[in-house]
């Protein structure tokens, strides 16, 4: 009974990662970490392959993936956006910035835009409290962001496309 498909090269890649941890189910979190590092996300079929390789129920893999907010089953956008909601950023209006990003991109936190360009996540403190509120896009940090600057920042990336 086949319901899910994955290319042979990806299956081999996952097997290699599992092999690197001796197919030890106690290393599940590390294996998921490495796999997400390779593929960017952990779709159902990838979890199935890991489960069968480690000889554990796929429900257990899924339980771990949904427990840790780090793991994601949806692919990140080309430009992942992180909004800092640490104390300093929060009191200086990070939530308003986040709302504006959600409105501009028409997605919620944890989602990816339909064109695959942007994904939106929150984090707690990037260590740049002096620049609060802070957002980062694909590793580039923007400080003193206000809702009215959001559109302009995003347009840089649309322009690059």
């Amino acid at each position: 009974m086949e319901t899910l498909c994955l290319s042979q090269s990806k299956i081999t890649k996952i097997h290699d990662i599992c092999e690197g941890y001796n197919n030890d189910s106690a290393e599940l979190i590390n294996i998921l970490h490495a796999t997400q590092g390779t593929f960017g996300f952990l779709p159902a079929e990838v979890q199935e392959v890991i489960a069968s390789r480690l000889d554990i129920p796929v429900s257990k893999v899924y339980g771990v993936v949904t427990f840790y907010s780090f793991f994601t089953m949806t692919p990140n956008g080309k430009y992942p956006i992180s909004v800092c909601l640490g104390t300093a950023c929060y009191v200086r209006g990070a939530e308003k910035v986040l709302e504006e990003l959600e409105r501009q991109l028409d997605i919620k936190v944890g989602e990816t835009t339909n064109d695959g360009l942007f994904s939106l996540d929150c984090l707690r403190c990037v260590g740049a409290c002096g620049l609060a509120p802070v957002i980062s896009i694909a590793g580039k940090v923007y400080g003193r962001v206000s809702p009215d600057k959001v559109k302009k920042i995003l347009s840089e990336y649309y322009y690059q496309e």
Partner: protein, 596 residues
């Protein structure tokens, strides 16, 4: 063994080092309440996440309250289990749990059997001071089990049962915090999961988050339909447990009262699945002898060991996890389905009515039997051999519903011909019983001699995995027995590795066999209850005049008049089945098509 002295509620006692306060208290009759803790003594399994925090107690010298289930006794420990501080904490915890639990007790099918309800009552909760958001999860209805996570208290007993004891791996805790729930992989419905419908999660759920599918109304509708002939069959394990719901001691056989109640409910014929169990022995026993004879002739293709196929939870388990070994399963249908096939063909023809005039209802100790009855291969033109399957607790509810005073009912006998059975059939309800019944018949058919020692004690008991060698006149027949799917997995792994020493293996998915089925009155992990149910069935076997399936006069008549011979052409058509590969695998994508 090193022991320590402790004082619990002013009582001094000595316990082995490492004993938890909860267990120590229990040993002197102090029942500290808990919702998550579950210990299945004989199975060596414990669910002990320490998550409910209802069992907190005061330990002298400790600043914080201690969870009794997680705190081990040390020398000189002084414990108080009901100070006002303890009771305040317990009530607060309880109110917090209740703040996210629907107040539907009156309409809940667990009403009266719910552990949350009992503890709320014992703690004297009269109001819940906390209000706020409540979880809203969709209700998942499979043919056998209903999963309502709005009622879940996250004790995770079901997760332990499904993963550690049964090794089915269908249920798991997903997400975290307020969104946390027990679900399946990718939060599919249970029908899309690896669930085998054994129903053991339902047996140990303290609330009604997991419950059996309810089909009582369909039974009532059939009984009210004047155009239908409604036949009921009752499985062997039901009669040893039904009484429990009416205040009888565990293991009281209520066969006669059950038959009277069913007749009172309005069934046209009250028959016995035991008849079909005798029939199963004829078919499965013959199949075993055929396979053995081929095997002894040196046939390398023949599938030995033969594995029993009576248990639908086990059959699902093989189809999901070991489809490559399904040819080791006996092709004989389960007694429930054999009964349905005989009722809708042989019996219908004898009555001179069409099969769709007949409604076959089965009363089973089992939730998986509902799923089994719904399998499409067990229907002819959409008309199933078994129309409705209900479990023991549902029958108890129907009896109450019909205003029957069960305790006062006189005893009566099953109808003939499909109500006649032997002692061999009755022991089908307990682990080891099917293979013992099969041995009684196979021995006599194989050797042509009388089996003198009819009680085959080496096959009995409640150990998870057992084995025995029965001397078939010089042929040492090696038998393996397992109950509980985790134990079954160990035996089938040996088959896969080619190291299985057995000729025949009996498997029952539930701990104890059908007597511990998911549809039985809740035994709450108390193995003493299971032992009593098992001895009741062995006693019923001893009380029977006929104790060998092949000597059942109505079985002999059935073969003579209708079926011909065991494993013959008509038997194959009506009484045997085939299995499917239900294992989910990730297929390999054709990369040239470039669509992923």
């Amino acid at each position: 063994m090193e022991t320590v002295k402790v004082i619990i509620d002013r009582k001094e006692l000595e316990v082995p080092k490492g004993t938890t306060i909860l267990e120590a208290a229990k040993s002197i009759g102090i029942r500290i309440p808990t919702l998550c803790h579950m210990k299945l003594e004989d199975l060596n399994y414990e669910n002990n996440p320490g998550s409910c925090r209802i069992c907190v107690v005061e330990v002298e010298g400790r600043r914080n309250l201690a969870p009794a289930c997680k705190t081990e006794c040390t020398e000189g420990l002084v414990v108080k289990t009901y100070t006002s501080r303890v009771m305040n904490a317990r009530r607060t915890v309880m109110e917090l749990i209740l703040s996210n639990h629907p107040f539907e007790c009156l309409t809940c099918s667990k009403n009266g059997y719910c552990e949350l309800q009992t503890i709320a009552h014992d703690l004297g909760i009269r109001e819940v001071r906390y209000t706020g958001e409540q979880s809203v999860f969709p209700i998942d209805r499979s043919p056998s089990i209903v999963r309502n996570m709005n009622k879940c208290i996250m004790c995770r007993r079901c997760e332990t049962m499904c993963n550690e004891i049964q090794t089915v791996g269908a249920l798991t805790a997903v997400h975290r915090g307020f969104e946390a729930a027990v679900s399946t992989a990718f939060e599919k419905d249970m029908t899309g999961s690896t669930c085998s419908y054994c129903g053991q999660c339902v047996s140990i759920c303290p609330v009604n988050a997991l419950s059996g599918r309810n089909n009582q109304q369909e039974v009532l509708n059939a009984l009210a339909d004047p155009d239908k002939i409604v036949i009921v069959q009752t499985a062997p394990a039901v009669r040893a447990a039904l009484g429990r719901d009416f205040g009888f001691e565990p293991g009281t056989l209520v066969t006669g009262k059950m038959v009277s109640a069913l007749r009172y409910l309005g069934f046209d014929y009250v028959f016995d699945t035991d008849f079909a169990a005798d029939l199963t022995i004829m078919e499965e026993g013959t199949e075993l002898l055929h396979r053995l004879s081929d095997y002894l002739k040196g046939d390398k293709e023949v599938k030995i060991p033969l594995m029993t196929s009576c248990c639908p939870g086990w059959v699902s388990f093989v189809e999901q996890h070991y489809p490559d070994l399904s040819s080791h399963l006996s092709t004989a249908k389960s007694p429930q389905q054999m009964f349905g096939a005989i009722a809708k063909n042989y019996f219908a023809e004898n009555l001179g009515v069409a099969r769709d005039k007949i409604v076959v209802v089965s009363v089973m100790p089992c939730l998986a039997k509902k799923y089994e009855a719904s399998r499409p291969e067990f229907a002819v033109d959409g008309n199933p051999d078994v129309d409705i399957s209900i479990y023991t607790r549902e029958l108890a509810r129907l009896i109450r519903y019909a205003n029957i005073n069960f305790e006062e009912l006189p005893d009566s006998d099953f109808d003939r011909p499909l109500g006649e059975s032997t002692g061999a059939a009755i022991i089908f309800g307990t682990t080891g019983g099917v293979i013992e019944a099969a041995c009684r018949t196979a021995y006599e058919l194989y050797t042509g001699k009388r089996l003198e020692q009819i009680d085959i004690e080496e096959l009995r008991g409640l150990e998870g995995i057992r084995s025995a060698t029965i001397d078939f006149n010089g042929l040492p027949l090696k038998i393996g027995i397992a109950h509980g799917l985790g134990n079954a997995r160990k035996l089938i792994e040996e088959v896969r590795n080619g190291t299985s020493p057995y000729h025949a293996i009996e498997i029952m998915a539930c701990p104890g066999g059908c007597i511990g089925g998911g549809g039985q009155p809740f035994h709450k992990g108390n193995m003493k209850v299971l032992r009593k149910r098992a001895s009741a069935l062995y006693q019923a076997d001893r009380d029977k005049t006929i104790r060998r399936s092949h000597e059942n006069p109505y079985i002999i008549q059935l073969y003579k008049e209708y079926l011909g011979e065991p494993c013959g052409a008509l038997s194959h058509k009506l009484l045997h089945t085939h299995y499917f590969d239900r294992k989910e695998i990730v297929g390999i994508l054709d990369e040239t098509k470039n669509e992923e």
